[in-house]
Symmetry: C2
């Protein structure tokens, strides 16, 4: 039994993997694998349409939004967002609360006029900015945030503070569909699939219709949101298998009880691991300030690099993988995405307590 705490690509629901395996050689009696079926087939068009419908239902969104299945991950969106939505003479605002927000902001600086509305770099990305002290520009082309920072383990609350009236754009790669949230407050949400949604290889973009039309017309065809919207994500060959897997994961989320059930499950898991930190008398030092703690990525340090190395190797020996912190910051990171089971979180918390007793 392996407990998979990988930061992404990450654990998938065992039932989803079992189903993908069972039907891999013959998709629904077609005599073909889904891997060798045309994206113009009625079978794939059904997957594509169902996945969009499931996503909009889970988010409670209507016809004023579209779901696009794109490629290139959040890193490609870091460029496509300013390319599409930041006109010459306009300004885009960014709130940076960790490494991914930094990258998004850097790419935008290369492509247009930007303003850093807030950054928590000074405190090592442990906290969230004081929203009441912010002065967002209502004329901004958009305001960009990162709802969860996987490397630092810092997450905005589901009910965001007031952030002004410019279109709100959010990188939700690592907490999309992890809890109910007011999706209609966002003009554009994007997420690489490989954390909460499926395997690597597809990027989900949920975009409000008015932003699609606002996009620049002089971009390469393949870089325009309008191209994907107009063609139902079938302008060119989509990553068929990845979208198929996302659709299976969305069905699994619905079966579990939707975003309310995910939130309950995720809160329970995170509570177990944070409790192991908080009851360790300082042996484990959490990175994030308590009020900014992520339910998805629990980041912490041990008293020494030697102990961290030992922690990782003993955890590995006990069947827990993917716990190393990001190479840019070190330490330990437990990623607790939707598909990670409460049993895995309990196993980790128990190991943490036992390890602290032995070495504390």
């Amino acid at each position: 039994m392996i407990h998979n705490f990988n930061p992404g690509p990450a654990a998938l629901p065992p039932a989803v993997i079992a189903r993908a395996q069972a039907e891999l050689a013959d998709y629904h009696g077609t005599g073909m694998s889904i891997l060798e079926m045309s994206h113009r087939s009625k079978e794939y068009e059904a997957i594509n349409a169902t996945a969009e419908a499931h996503l909009k239902a889970l988010l409670g969104l209507g016809d004023d939004y579209r779901v696009l299945f794109m490629q290139g991950g959040a890193s490609m969106q870091f460029a496509l967002i300013p390319l599409n939505l930041l006109p010459a003479g306009g300004v885009a605002e960014y709130i940076v609360t960790g490494s991914w927000g930094e990258k998004a902001y850097e790419e935008a600086q290369r492509l247009g006029n930007t303003r850093l509305l807030a950054s928590t770099a000074a405190d090592g990305y442990r906290s969230l900015p004081d929203a009441e002290a912010l002065t967002p520009d209502p004329q901004a082309a958009y305001l960009h945030i990162t709802t969860n920072e996987t490397i630092q383990g810092v997450q905005w609350p589901a009910e965001l503070p007031e952030l002004g009236s410019a279109p709100l754009v959010a990188d939700m790669s690592s907490d999309f569909l992890a809890r109910p949230f007011p999706a209609e407050r966002f003009a554009l949400m994007y997420a690489g699939a490989q954390k909460n949604l499926g395997p690597a290889g597809v990027t989900v973009v949920v975009i409000r219709q008015d932003l699609i039309e606002r996009g620049r017309k002089d971009l390469p065809v393949i870089m325009r949101y309008a191209t994907f919207a107009k063609n139902n994500s079938l302008y060119n060959t989509p990553p068929v298998f990845a979208v198929y897997m996302v659709n299976l994961v969305l069905e699994w989320i619905k079966e579990q009880g939707g975003l309310v059930a995910m939130a309950e499950r995720n809160a329970r898991k995170a509570a177990m691991v944070y409790e192991a930190i908080d009851s360790s008398n300082g042996f484990y030092a959490g990175h994030a300030a308590p009020e900014a703690r992520s339910l998805m990525n629990v980041t912490f340090r041990l008293p020494s690099a030697e102990l961290e190395k030992r922690f990782l190797s003993e955890a590995q020996a006990a069947g827990m993988v993917g716990l190393a912190g990001h190479r840019s910051v070190g330490g330990i990171r437990a990623s607790l995405y939707n598909a990670v089971s409460p049993e895995s979180a309990a196993t980790l918390a128990s190991f943490m307590r036992e390890f602290a007793q032995r070495y504390g």
Copy 2:
């Protein structure tokens, strides 16, 4: 038994699908699916490195080339090639022999100075240009060709005519690895995987080292070839499963005897279907001029749209799928990529003869 003539995504070797299915739930004893493994794991890094090594071995290329695993398909390359390789003040030349070359050329026109060195649009894309009559500019930033046009079924010969001294760039999406060819004549080759190489979701780019360094430095990070080369295609999360599948297909090609064996197999299949056209007393009218015929996509018309509809439905009833011509041109198209078996080609040829007898 289904005979899969899909134009892409297309047939995969049954042995590859069987292996992917067998190890989908537990990759090499790790207790995890390849779908949920980190792209920084030693297992995936081995897949990534092996796939690059297999490709270079099959193409006979050395250290002066790199293999990049990118996303977005040929359509994204249509933009990335001029963005990276066409400096302000430079000119890029295009030879257009079908619909895909047209799209590549259109995107380049949007992004820089271009010159249409030759086009066969006037004859409905049935032929190849007379290379001896061309005057390529040796100072061009690059010369772009499409080695096989899937929609029209027109293919350049493996031994290309002399095309001047500018760096040669080729869209090989639909005939990559289908036969031996002098790969060292090309500065950049690219191919969406979903025809000869694997499932949809990864684009293989083979690029000569000197072109990597020539790339523009002001592009978004994710759009630079240099970013992928420097990071071994691991700058951001790659499409893990698609690269894994490509690696399995490359191993299958090697086991079959490499590109020489693929060429023999592909020539045999195409000969069967073209023979059914040529012996039909004009019932089947091939689209491509005989000297430009593609070994990958055999395109032809029947005497009427009604007969074409009947052909497709009777073929479907007999287990042959994917034979409809591209929606932009109609007619019939049989795609005979590497993984399509000689038995499938023989079944189609036999059906064509029998159908012509009944309705001819």
